[in-house]
């Protein structure tokens, strides 16, 4: 299964609508990096509103994606992390410290704009 990646000007938009299994997550990592390379994107918003669970593996993949994208010159914002998912991550001791977040897609785009301009 592949997660669709949409292009909007300089940005890439991803809305994760499926339950993330390991393979899908890794495939997504690869697809996103290729797309950034191909399009020369400067910002990425990954929306997780429909994701009901993030375990330590998925968290690691997401953290890695952010770091790798930064290396390629694209800022990443994660949006729409659900309260239950956030609490579970905190319980597990996973803070995702280096990862910028926003409430929803709209605010995520605002945040990217700010970070890229400021």
């Amino acid at each position: 299964m592949r997660i669709p990646i949409l292009k909007l000007h300089d940005y890439l938009l991803i809305s994760v609508q499926v339950e993330l299994d390991d393979q899908t997550a890794l495939q997504f990592q690869e697809d996103l990096l290729n797309k950034i390379h191909q399009e020369g994107s400067s910002g990425v918003v990954i929306d997780l509103t429909s994701v009901e669970m993030i375990d330590s593996f998925i968290a690691k993949v997401l953290g890695d994606v952010v770091e790798m994208s930064n290396l390629m010159g694209a800022k990443v914002v994660l949006t729409g992390i659900q309260p239950a998912v956030a609490i579970t991550l905190i319980d597990m001791g996973i803070m995702l410290d280096e990862v910028p977040t926003a409430l929803d897609l709209e605010q995520g785009l605002d945040k990217l704009q700010q970070e890229l301009e400021g």
């Binding site: 994660l78 949006t79 729409g80 992390i81 659900q82 309260p83 956030a86 991550l89 409430l103």
Partner: protein, 273 residues
């Protein structure tokens, strides 16, 4: 106690135990059977009766200690108080029965009379015990509910800015509720900045600080930002003296200053007109 009684108990120990277990079985089938966990039932019975008889042999303090330990464990596992009171009454009945069973008719009459009075009084005792424990449990339940109601609401004050005033002591259970209502509220009001006001929290120790830090981390994950406000001088002192690191998120002394910071963070400010 008269040596003859102790001797009698020892010589008929097995018999007494057997009759006691039957008696308890009979009582518990009527009354408390439905409340008891059956897998441990026989095991606990055996332990209880041994403990009762042990109190004759052991040093008083030691016996008390053993009984306390046993009771604590059963309380924790949720056994009702009536198991103890009725179990003890059953033991007394069995003992008297055993004592008088081989005796003359006269003592039997005494026993019967005694039995009647006893069951009358025991009935009252049992009811009183039930009333008491029932009322304790009820009170406890209500207090828990009251505490839940006390748990902080998230109040939207401006667009994108909300305040959560915390009042009273924060324990782990409350911290969980606070965190949930905080995060749900953020989503509901689309808040970008949340001010957590701890003016009403009497003590901030490492535990409370830990809960607050965790809450602010979770707030960040859902995509908002936390500002801790209402830090009184004595709270600032304890936080530093305990070596708690709150450096990761902004703090302000008062709610007013916090709101100013919140407006700045969302590119707004209040001006005189």
């Amino acid at each position: 106690m008269q040596p003859s009684i102790i001797e009698m108990i020892y010589s008929q120990r097995e018999e007494i135990m057997k009759r006691w277990e039957e008696e308890v079985q009979r009582v518990s089938e009527n009354e408390m059977g439905r409340q008891l966990p059956y897998d441990k039932y026989n095991e606990t019975n055996a332990e209880f009766i041994h403990l009762i008889i042990d109190t004759l042999e052991l040093d008083q303090n030691e016996a008390k200690e053993k009984l306390r330990f046993f009771a604590e464990r059963l309380i924790h596992a949720g056994w009702p108080l009536s198991y103890f009171t009725q179990g003890m009454q059953a033991f007394r009945r069995v003992l008297l029965e055993t004592m008088t069973s081989n005796d003359s008719l006269q003592s039997k009459t005494v026993f019967t009379t005694f039995y009647e009075i006893e069951s009358w009084i025991d009935g009252i005792i049992n009811q009183l015990v039930d009333e008491y424990t029932g009322s304790w449990e009820n009170t406890l339940h209500l207090q828990k509910l009251a505490l839940k109601e006390l748990s902080a609401p998230l109040i939207p004050v401006f667009e994108k800015i909300s305040v959560m005033p915390l009042i009273g002591t924060i324990d782990t259970e409350r911290a969980k509720l606070i965190m949930e209502s905080l995060l749900e509220g953020i989503i509901e009001h689309r808040s970008q900045v949340v001010l957590i006001d701890i003016t009403g929290v009497p003590v901030v120790d490492t535990m409370v600080a830990h809960h607050i830090i965790q809450a602010s981390e979770a707030v960040r994950l859902v995509g908002a930002e936390c500002i801790l406000v209402g830090i009184r001088p004595e709270i600032a002192q304890t936080i530093v003296n305990l070596g708690i690191d709150l450096g990761k998120f902004p703090t302000r002394s008062t709610l007013r200053k916090g709101i100013e910071t919140g407006l700045e963070l969302t590119q707004r400010k209040i001006v005189d007109i």
